[in-house]
């Protein structure tokens, strides 16, 4: 299945900003993390289609996965 993967802040360094990537059906968000080489410890915020998600959440065709390190501001 096709998943849109978006990376932010330091995760972009040496990787990419946004890409369409293919994963086997039933893959979870964890598979995306492994695919792009971000560790669980580095991960701050995971969003699936603009909602906070978890790593074991199964993805569906066309989903958008957004990965952020822990960042903040205000």
């Amino acid at each position: 299945m096709q998943i849109t993967v978006k990376l932010f802040a330091t995760f972009r360094v040496g990787r990419f900003k946004i890409e369409q990537r293919s994963y086997p059906a039933q893959s979870t968000a964890r598979a995306v993390l492994e695919d792009v080489g971000v560790t669980e410890e580095e991960l701050g915020i995971l969003m699936v289609n603009g909602r906070h998600g978890n790593l074991d959440q199964p993805l569906c065709e066309g989903d958008t996965v957004s990965l952020f390190p822990l960042v903040g501001g205000g």
């Binding site: 701050g44 909602r51 906070h52 903040g72 501001g73 205000g74």
Partner: protein
Amino acid sequence: MDKIFRVDMSKLTTSIEDVPAKWAGLGGRALTSTIVAEEVVPTCHPLGPNNKLVFAPGLLSGTAAANSGRMSCGAKSPLTGTIKESNAGGTSAQQFARMGIKALIIEGLPKDDKWYGLHLTKDGATIVAADDLAGKGNFAVIEALEAKLGKKTGVVTIGPAGEMKMAMANISVKDPDSKIRSHGRGGLGAVMGSKKIKYISIDSEGAPGVTVADPEKFKQAARTFAKALLDHPVSGEGLPTYGTNVLVNILHEAGGLPTRNFTLGQFDGHDKICGETMHDTIVKRGGKPKHGCHAGCIIQCSQVYLNEQGKYVTSGFEYETIWGMGANCCIDNLDDIAEADNIMDDIGVDSIESAVMFGVAMEAGILPFGDGKGVIRLLGEIGKGTALGRILGGGTGHVGKAYGVTRVPVVKNQGIPAYDPRSVKGIGITYATSTMGADHTAGYTIATNILNVGGYVDPLKKDGQVELSRNLQIATAAVDSTGMCIFVAFPALDIPECLPALIDMINARFGINLTGDDVTNLGKSILKIERQFNIEAGFTNKDDRLPEFFNFEPVPPHNVVWDFSDEEIDAFWNF
């Protein structure tokens, strides 16, 4: 021994008073709000003779504690009609603390129509003539005072907007690079303008410095505290690299980035104005991606932004400003936003209130959405005080009324900041219930709703939001009293040693034994003092509400509305 400096502008006299015992344990917001509550008639006109303008450094300002250089300024707000505390970085807090000035209270109004300056030394305040600087922008005031009094002189100043008593006028504070930090919110610049004070100059030469009761204990606690700040990924890495503007993309992804005057939750042009793009632009042009707003800041979330020619445009280029002029006004040109930020610093207007106001002005048809050059032109009109400039300078609610706009994002007449309360519900509770009017810093639920700091509370559900906002507002009121930057809250929420180290520093500084409960109780008592002032000024629970349109206009992409009942909101005050 700390003193209170008091200035009576009606008689043009100054005096030095001992600190009353009841104020001894207070600093920052706790002290400004206590003084305003005790000495200002709640029903007074904010620009009349009975309002007072109070400055107080935090409890830890002037010490070696990291990030302790914030100055609180308080009064009755001409924008909201409520009590107000607005804090800023810059050099003034540490100067005040080292000079032993616990608070500066400015009262009364002069009878004549002249402009005055206030010169502070460790020995007292002197009122001087300042007609020569009337009409000048803040950068020119700082330059003139440095030329006359020396580079080390601290400066607190108002621009033309403050002189004209506009409700969105701020008070500017010189930073370590002779640029500007601001007591932004609530129109405090208009209060200073009403008292005909153009500037305060601070000469801290020969200041006795801050005495610490237990230096060894202080040193240890300060080290633990600084380590927590540097160890936490938000304060130690994210903020120094991308600044607060890292939030544009996060809020865009979460659908909580108010866009086109709060009609959308995402902005198509987000990539052009986001923190990542800004970082790359600053580095490419030879600016500084890292920069502190006061000496002793180890987070360094500020930055110095240059134009294409490599010339200084602005520093402290914040998410709120970039969101507001960017997404909210649909301007996707970072250079235009930076130029607007520079003008806002110079004429002395709050960049949040201005940006929210421009969203309403665009909806009113005064200028089209996306018109960055138009914003720059109209800021010029505000600085000159043209008829239109005066209307705009009154702030968001003022422009909404003048043009019959119904989508006016304010609470207690103060513009709503950079997080949509429909899709980030905790912050909506803060906007509604804060004693300050809509203010994200009063209880920054974004940490837990969006950033996974201090746990996680789902931003799209109502569950847990009132409690989250309550706990954060109580903690924030206490932190605002220490002189600490509010960003110490990120490590404090996650690293167990951080908050105890902060309390240990206060204890070591004053030779006292506060516990965590004492600090929580201080936060609660500040909120209650402020709320009581507002009640006596005529506010009721009916004022603790968001504008009606949030109830019936769903915001995409999640298509959610603001759905808290009155009873649910009012439960905030059950403590």
